[in-house]
C-alpha cells in the first residue's frame, strides 16, 4: 500500500476549534452575495425589457387611428429624460458619499435622487393623462396597448427604485442603517443606473426613431 493516509473531512481539532468566521466579502468570488444577486436580477430584467421592446417594435406600425408622432411632445419628454439622467449623477454622488462613510451627504444625495425620480414619474403621469385626453386610451388600438405597457413597466421600475431610495434614506436617518452597509447603497445604485439606461433605450426607440 502506498504511504497515503486517509484525510477525514473533519478532524477532532477542526471540531474543537473556534467557529469559522466569514465576513460579507468572504465568498468564492469576492463579490458579495447581494451584489451578485442584483447583477443576476438585472440580467434577467434585460430580457424583460427586451421582450417588451420587441413587442412594441413589432406592433407599433400595425395600428390605425391616433398617429403617435402627432401625439408625442418630444421637448417635454426630453426634459423628463434629462431629469432621470441627472438622477444617475446624484446616485453616483450618494454612493460615493456612502463609501466615504459620510452619512449626511449620502442622505442628501439619496433624497435628491428620489426627488428627480419622482419628477420623472410625475412627468410620465402628466404625459399619460395628456395622451388619454387626446384620444389614446389603453384599449384604443394596438399602439396604445403596446406604448402604455412598455412605458408603464418602466415607470413601475422607477417607482420601486424610489421606494428603495426613500427606505434607505429613512433607515439611515433613524440610525438603523449605517456606513457598514455602504454596499447596499451601491446595489440600489446599480438598479437605479439600470433603470436609467433602459429609459434611454426606450426613449430612443419610442420617441426618437420615426
Amino acid at each position: 500500500m502506498a504511504d497515503v493516509t486517509a484525510r477525514p473531512y473533519a478532524t477532532p481539532e477542526d471540531l474543537e476549534g473556534p467557529e469559522e468566521h466569514h465576513d460579507a466579502h468572504d465568498t468564492a468570488t469576492g463579490v458579495s452575495n447581494n451584489k451578485l444577486a442584483m447583477w443576476a436580477f438585472l440580467g434577467s430584467d434585460c430580457l424583460l425589457f427586451g421582450a417588451l421592446i420587441s413587442t412594441y417594435l413589432l406592433l407599433r406600425r400595425k395600428s390605425d387611428g391616433v398617429d403617435p408622432e402627432e401625439l408625442f411632445d418630444i421637448p417635454f419628454t426630453s426634459v423628463s429624460a434629462f431629469v432621470l439622467l441627472m438622477s444617475s449623477l446624484t446616485m453616483v454622488l450618494a454612493v460615493s458619499a456612502a463609501n466615504r462613510r459620510d452619512g449626511q451627504r449620502m442622505r442628501y444625495w439619496l433624497m435628491a435622487t428620489a426627488l428627480l425620480g419622482s419628477i420623472f414619474i410625475a412627468g410620465q403621469v402628466y404625459e399619460f393623462t395628456a395622451f388619454y385626453n387626446e384620444g389614446l386610451g389603453y384599449t384604443t388600438n394596438i399602439f396604445g396597448s403596446a406604448f402604455y405597457t412598455l412605458t408603464g413597466f418602466h415607470g413601475v421600475h422607477v417607482s420601486v427604485g424610489i421606494v428603495m431610495l426613500v427606505s434607505l434614506f429613512a433607515m439611515s436617518a433613524t440610525g438603523r442603517f449605517n456606513e457598514d452597509n455602504a454596499e447596499t447603497v451601491e446595489i440600489v445604485g446599480l438598479y437605479w443606473h439600470f433603470v436609467d439606461v433602459v429609459w434611454i433605450v426606450i426613449f430612443t426607440i419610442v420617441y426618437l426613431i420615426p
Binding site: D23, A28, S63, S145, V156, V160
Partner: protein, 655 residues
C-alpha cells in the same frame, strides 16, 4: 415584479457570511420563530434541505394530479368515438395535464434535487438567501394550487399548454380557465426567477475552499446552467403572460387580429421561453445520471470537461432554435432553413453526453442497483427521443410530423424517458441521504421494470399513430382508419404506468416501516461508495450540513480520499466513507426560520384572484405582500440570542 426586486434591501448579509458584528439591537416587531421541530416548523423553515423535500413532495402530488389527467386522456382515446369526456372537458384535461406536468412536476422536481443537493455538493451550509428560498417554494406552491383551482371555478384552461393566440383570447375561451393559466404560471414564474437568482449566487459564491468551477460535480454544473436558463427565459414568458392577461382582463389589443395584431407574436415569445424551457426540464436529469453512472460503474465520469462543456453548449444553443416549434406557422423559408440548421446541430452536444455516459460504463464493474437501472434507461430512452428530435429538425419532414402523435411520442420520450427516469433514479440514489434509509431494492426493481414496460407501451405506439396521421389534441377518432389498435395499446400502457407508480409509493411506505421496525439502523454516510461531498456528512444530513467547511483538492475529492494507488499503480481502498465523513456533532450558527416568506407568497394568489374577480381580493393580497415584505425587512435578523447556542459575539445583523 416588485417581489423580485426586493433582495437589495431585504436580504442583508446573511448569517453565513455575516459582516463584522455591528452592535445594534434587532429591529423587528416580532421575534423570529425558532422552532425547528414538529410539523409547524415546516411552514417557517428556511433550511434548504427541508425546502428541497417539500419541493419533491409537492412535485409528486402534482404528478398524481397530472397523471390522473393523463389517465383520463388515455381512457377517452382507448376506443374510437367514445364520449367519456366531451370535447370541452377533454380540451381542459389535456391542457391541464401538459401544463401541470411541465410547470408543476418536472420543474419543481428539478428544484427539489437542486435545493437539497447543490449547497451540499459545493460544501455550503445553506443557499445564499435562505428566506428567499422558502419564498420560492411557497410561491411555486401557491402558483400550482392557484392554477388548479380553475377546476373548481368553472373549468381549467382549454387552450393547450402553449395556448396559442388568438384561441386563448376572451372571445374563444370566455371562461376563467385561461386567466388561471396565465396568472398561475406568472406566480410560478416569480418562484423560478427568485430561485434562479438564489441558486446562481449560491453555486458561484458559496463554494468551499478549493472547489473551483471545474471541480464542481456535474449535477451542480447542470443545475447552474438550468438556473441561468431560467433567469433569462422566465422574463420572456412573463411578458407573454402579461400581454395575454392584459388582453383578456383589461381589453388590450396585443393579440387582437381585428385591430391588426399578428398572432405569431405570442408564438415567438412563448417559444423563446419554451425552448430553453425544454433544457430546463431535461438538464437536471442529465446531471443526476452523470452522478449516478460513475458511482455504480465504479469509474470516474468519462470526459468530465466535455460533459460540462456540452451542457453549457446546450444552454447557449438552446436560445437559437425556438422557431423549430413554428416550422408550419408561416415563417418564410429563410427563417425555417436557419432554424432547421441550428436545431440539427444542437443534437451534437446532446449526443456527446450520451456517448460519455456509455463510455463511463465501458470497462466498469457496473452494479445494477435501482438508481443505475433508471439511469441506464434514461440513456436508452432519451436516445430515442433525441433521434425523433433530429427527425423534426428536418423541417420539410417536420411538416408531416408536427402536431401529430409523433410529436407527442417524441416529447414524452424526452420528458418521461429522460427527465422522469432521471428523477426516479435520483430519488432511489439520494433517498438514504435524505431519509436515512434506502428504498427497498426488490420493490425498486419491480417499480423500474413496470415503469419501463408501461412507458414504452404507452408512448412507443404513439410514434406509429403519428406516422399514420393521428393529430394530437383530438378528442376522438374514427374507427377503420388504422388508429384503434395502437390507441388501445397505449391505454394499456398507461394502466401499467399507474400500477408502477403505486408500487413506488408502496415501496416508500414499506421501506420506511421496515426500517422503523428494525430500530432505524444507520445506513451510514456513504451507502453507495459515492464520490461527491454530500456523502461526507451523516445520513440523514444534519441540520447544519457540515461541521467544518470541507476543503477540496480535486474532482471527486471524496472518492480520492477513499482510494489511493498502491505500489502496482492500482487503486485500492484506504478508508471507508464512514471513516472520512464528518460526525455531525457541530453546532454552527444557522439562519433562523421566518414567517414572512410564507406570508408574502400567500398574498400573490390573492392579488391574482383580485385581478380576475374583485378588487377587494387584490387589496387583501396587496396587504399580505406589502406587510410581509415589511415584516421581512424589519424582522430581527435572528432569533433571540438565548434561543440558540451561537457564540456571544454573534449579534443580530440587518437581514
Amino acid at each position: 415584479m416588485a417581489i423580485v426586486e426586493r433582495p437589495i434591501e431585504d436580504e442583508g448579509p446573511k448569517e453565513l457570511e455575516a459582516p463584522p458584528a455591528s452592535r445594534r439591537p434587532s429591529e423587528g416587531v416580532f421575534k423570529r420563530p425558532t422552532n425547528t421541530e414538529g410539523w409547524t416548523s415546516w411552514f417557517t423553515t428556511v433550511d434548504h434541505k427541508r425546502i428541497g423535500i417539500m419541493y419533491g413532495a409537492a412535485a409528486l402530488f402534482f404528478f398524481v394530479v397530472g397523471g390522473l389527467e393523463a389517465g383520463l386522456i388515455r381512457l377517452q382515446l382507448a376506443r374510437p368515438n367514445q364520449e367519456i369526456l366531451n370535447e370541452d372537458l377533454y380540451n381542459q384535461v389535456f391542457t391541464m395535464h401538459g401544463t401541470t406536468m411541465i410547470f408543476f412536476v418536472v420543474i419543481p422536481m428539478g428544484a427539489a434535487f437542486m435545493n437539497y443537493l447543490m449547497p451540499l455538493q459545493v460544501g455550503a451550509r445553506d443557499v445564499a438567501f435562505p428566506r428567499l428560498n422558502a419564498f420560492s417554494f411557497w410561491t411555486f406552491l401557491a402558483g400550482g394550487i392557484f392554477f388548479n383551482l380553475a377546476w373548481f371555478t368553472g373549468g381549467g384552461a382549454d387552450c393547450g399548454w402553449f395556448c396559442y393566440a388568438p384561441n386563448s383570447g376572451l372571445a374563444f375561451s370566455p371562461g376563467n380557465g385561461v386567466d388561471y393559466y396565465a396568472l398561475g404560471l406568472q406566480i410560478a414564474g416569480i418562484a423560478s426567477l427568485v430561485g434562479a437568482m438564489n441558486l446562481i449566487v449560491t453555486v458561484i459564491n458559496l463554494r468551499a475552499p478549493g472547489m473551483s468551477m471545474m471541480r464542481l460535480p456535474v449535477f451542480t454544473w447542470m443545475a447552474l446552467v438550468v438556473q441561468m436558463l431560467l433567469l433569462f427565459a422566465i422574463p420572456v414568458i412573463s411578458v407573454a403572460l402579461f400581454l395575454l392577461t392584459f388582453d383578456r382582463l383589461f381589453d388590450a389589443n396585443f393579440f387582437n387580429v381585428e385591430a391588426g395584431a399578428d398572432p405569431l407574436l405570442w408564438q415567438h415569445l412563448f417559444w423563446i421561453f419554451g425552448h430553453p424551457e425544454v433544457y430546463i426540464l431535461i438538464l437536471p436529469a442529465f446531471g443526476i445520471v452523470s452522478e449516478i453512472i460513475p458511482v455504480f460503474s465504479r469509474k470516474p465520469l468519462f470526459g468530465y470537461p466535455f460533459v460540462v462543456f456540452s451542457g453549457i453548449a446546450i444552454g447557449f444553443m438552446g436560445w437559437g432554435v425556438w422557431a423549430h416549434h413554428m416550422f408550419v406557422s408561416g415563417l418564410g423559408p429563410v427563417s425555417v432553413a436557419a432554424f432547421a440548421a441550428t436545431t440539427m446541430f444542437i443534437a451534437v452536444p446532446t449526443g456527446v453526453k450520451i456517448l460519455n455516459w456509455v463510455a463511463t460504463m465501458w470497462g466498469g464493474k457496473v452494479r445494477f442497483d435501482t438508481p443505475m437501472l433508471f439511469s441506464t434507461a434514461l440513456v436508452a430512452m432519451f436516445t430515442i427521443g433525441g433521434l425523433s428530435g433530429v427527425m423534426h429538425s428536418i423541417a420539410p419532414s417536420d411538416t408531416q410530423q408536427t402536431d401529430t402523435y409523433f410529436i407527442v411520442a417524441h416529447f414524452h420520450y424526452v420528458l418521461f424517458g429522460g427527465a422522469l427516469m432521471g428523477f426516479f433514479g435520483g430519488l432511489y440514489f439520494w433517498w438514504p441521504k435524505v431519509f436515512g434509509h434506502k428504498l427497498d431494492e426488490r420493490r425498486g426493481k419491480w417499480h423500474f421494470w413496470t415503469n419501463f414496460v408501461g412507458f414504452n407501451l404507452t408512448f412507443g405506439p404513439m410514434h406509429v399513430l403519428g406516422l399514420q396521421g393521428m393529430p394530437r389534441r383530438y378528442q376522438t377518432y374514427d374507427a377503420n382508419i388504422g388508429f384503434e389498435f395502437w390507441n388501445m395499446a397505449a391505454t394499456i400502457g398507461v394502466v401499467i404506468l399507474g400500477w408502477s407508480f403505486l408500487i413506488f409509493l408502496w415501496n416508500i411506505w414499506k421501506s420506511y416501516v421496515g426500517w422503523k421496525a428494525e430500530g432505524k439502523p444507520d445506513v451510514g454516510p456513504d451507502p453507495w461508495d459515492a464520490r461527491s461531498l454530500e456523502w461526507t456528512v451523516q445520513s440523514p444530513t444534519p441540520h447544519h450540513n457540515f461541521d467544518v467547511t470541507p476543503t477540496v483538492t480535486q474532482v471527486d475529492d471524496f472518492w480520492h480520499r477513499k482510494y489511493a494507488k498502491d505500489e502496482t499503480g492500482r487503486y485500492r481502498r484506504i478508508a471507508t466513507g464512514a471513516e472520512l465523513a464528518q460526525p455531525g456533532t457541530g453546532h454552527p450558527h444557522l439562519p433562523a426560520p421566518s414567517y414572512w416568506p410564507l406570508v408574502v407568497s400567500v398574498g400573490l394568489p390573492f392579488i391574482a384572484a383580485g385581478v380576475m374577480y374583485h378588487l377587494g381580493l387584490a387589496v387583501v393580497g396587496g396587504i399580505l405582500v406589502v406587510g410581509g415584505v415589511y415584516g421581512w425587512i424589519t424582522e430581527p435578523a435572528d432569533a433571540e440570542p438565548d434561543d440558540h447556542d451561537a457564540p456571544e459575539d454573534e449579534e443580530a445583523h440587518v437581514g
